[in-house]
């Protein structure tokens, strides 16, 4: 079954081989006894209110998504080092966003004001400096690099390092044209590098009950970032820069915590022209690879599979593609589902199922609607017969 899916995915991947990519590297400590449960909520809100909306806004520009979602027991300094060092930029228009939520610390009188990240372990010699991540990503040649560390910046007995030493919205979200344009402006209207962290040197970062997310507990930095993102369309401006966004966050958090936590950032950016929208091509049957080529391919891993499926669905909903072609592909893709397969639609916040459909209805809706902006594949269960269960999160155009 995975071979057939791999076949169809490689059609699409080959067709879009030259497209630019936004790479998300999220490292979130969801198992720590003190902050783990807060970070589970933080991760959900970060993906639901920030990452998916950025992906949705950049998809019309032809941006593919590559997600490296490292959390739970997978989180470690070694994994972070490996992911950062091995990240490949395939186009000079690629964008890289690194976001860490977890414990942090700073060495006494460290030259950099940015902290080191514990990455879910307790050996101070294995902490990863945020500055190192920033420097590594800067050297990859992407159009824009954003490095954010949500953690404490308090000084303690760790050694200064320049590099690693050994690692409820209960419905589908809606985005207006204005918000999409603002996000495109933010991510494509400048080239260069950004580094930010959630507390000034010697300060700690805290978790709070957040009233605007149903009093759920998560770190206030991520909550504020996503809140500002949610309110973007209410801002009386036609453009937004990283400096404006991060300064607004810093002021808001400083005010709410009475000066106890003041995020800091630095931007090294130059203006760039926002490219025009592109229409991703709907895959066609006559470009199918030979099955024997697919048999030799490596196993398609879960993360790549979800990203690739999201890409296919997003192409399917693009109103710039002729409906006839979209419907034709929807019928072709329907064969990848097992009998009695179910597609479940998940809310923006939490994991509430808001709708359930059979594959024919789901794909037919995607192929014929002009209201859906982006489809994220949250989870997928496969069997010998095909896709048994599919969980998706949709972002709609605001009417």
């Amino acid at each position: 079954m995975k071979k057939i899916l791999g076949l169809l995915l490689s059609i699409f991947i080959l067709g879009a081989a030259q497209a630019q990519t936004i790479h998300w590297l999220t490292f979130i400590d969801t198992t720590d006894k003190n902050v783990g449960s807060c970070d589970v909520m933080g991760r959900n809100i970060l993906y639901g209110h920030f990452i998916n909306e950025v992906n949705a806004s950049l998809a019309p520009m032809g941006y593919k998504v590559s997600t490296h979602d490292i959390c739970g027991t997978a989180l470690s300094p070694e994994r972070c080092k490996k992911e950062v060092e091995s990240l490949k930029v395939t186009s000079p228009d690629d964008i890289i966003v690194f976001y860490y939520i977890g414990h942090g610390v700073r060495a006494f009188q460290d030259e950099t004001p940015y902290p080191q990240m514990w990455m879910g372990q307790v050996n101070p010699n294995k902490c990863i400096p945020l500055q190192w991540v920033f420097n590594q990503l800067k050297s990859k040649g992407a159009r824009l690099n954003v490095t954010i560390g949500m953690c404490c910046n308090n000084e303690d007995y760790v050694s200064a390092k320049t590099h690693p030493t050994f690692s409820v919205n209960y419905a589908s979200p809606q985005m207006s044209g204005k918000k999409i344009k603002l996000i495109q402006d933010l991510f494509l209207g400048a080239k260069g590098n950004v580094i930010a962290t959630s507390a000034s040197p010697k300060q700690t970062s805290g978790a709070y009950n957040i009233p605007w997310y149903n009093d759920n507990v998560l770190d206030i930095y991520t909550a504020t970032l996503c809140d500002i993102f949610d309110e973007l369309e209410k801002i009386n401006t036609n453009s937004i820069t990283w400096d404006v966004l991060l300064t607004a966050m810093s002021r808001k958090i400083d005010y709410m915590t009475d000066g106890e936590q003041t995020p800091i950032h630095n931007t090294f950016l130059a203006s760039a022209a926002v490219p025009s929208e592109k229409t991703p091509e709907v895959p066609r049957e006559e470009t199918v690879k030979k099955a024997k080529d697919v048999e030799n391919d490596e196993e398609v891993d879960d993360s790549n599979l979800k990203d690739s499926l999201s890409e296919i669905f997003t192409a399917l909903v693009n109103p710039n593609n002729p409906i006839a072609k979209r419907v034709e592909f929807a019928k072709l893709f329907e064969k990848e589902f097992a009998d009695k397969a179910v597609v479940r639609n998940i809310s923006q916040d939490g994991n509430i199922v808001v709708d359930k459909e059979d594959p024919e209805t789901f794909l037919g809706r995607l192929a014929t609607t002009n209201r859906i902006l982006y489809v994220e594949v949250v989870d997928i269960q496969l069997s010998e017969n095909g896709i048994e269960k599919l969980y998706v999160r949709e972002i709609h155009h605001k009417q």
């Binding site: 610390v105 404490c152 308090n154 805290g206 709070y208």
Partner: protein
Amino acid sequence: MNTKSLLYCIAAALLGCATLAGCNSLPKSNARNGIKYQQSTVAHPLGDSITSIIINAKSVKCSLIAKSDTVPQNSVIELSQESKAIFLYLLCQPVNFQTDKIVYGRFMPWTRFTCAKGGNKVVHVEFDYSLKKWRILDHLCNTIVTGDTGTNNEQLMLFAQELFPLEPNLKLLSNKSTK
């Protein structure tokens, strides 16, 4: 420290203990924009048995756990009666028992005060001045309770500096945070 100051400290310590025995600590809430400090465990007054060991300790020894190379390896000081009174006064400040915020930093103790009443009746009180937190451990070093030092942190650091004047990082930390 002169006699007058010492008497003041002892009186304050006794007053602090009396206050502690009777108070119900409530979580402090920050009403700005409705956000509230989230507490992993509500900081509450120490139980009678722990309070008894600390208040009636026959000896209180302070060890410098985190230290730089300028300080000798086995830095353990047995507190004099004077210093013990100051330690009790500082520990019993009500502000220490008001909050226990969740913060994104690991507790790395700088100093440990070992209070021994006799036999197995030992508790350890540790402070992380950088994270502005304290914790109490039993004789097996299991954590019993944690809390925030809050506005008391500066005083606690100054006290530690008096005990270990050769440790330079305590002085560095007591400077205001840079923004």
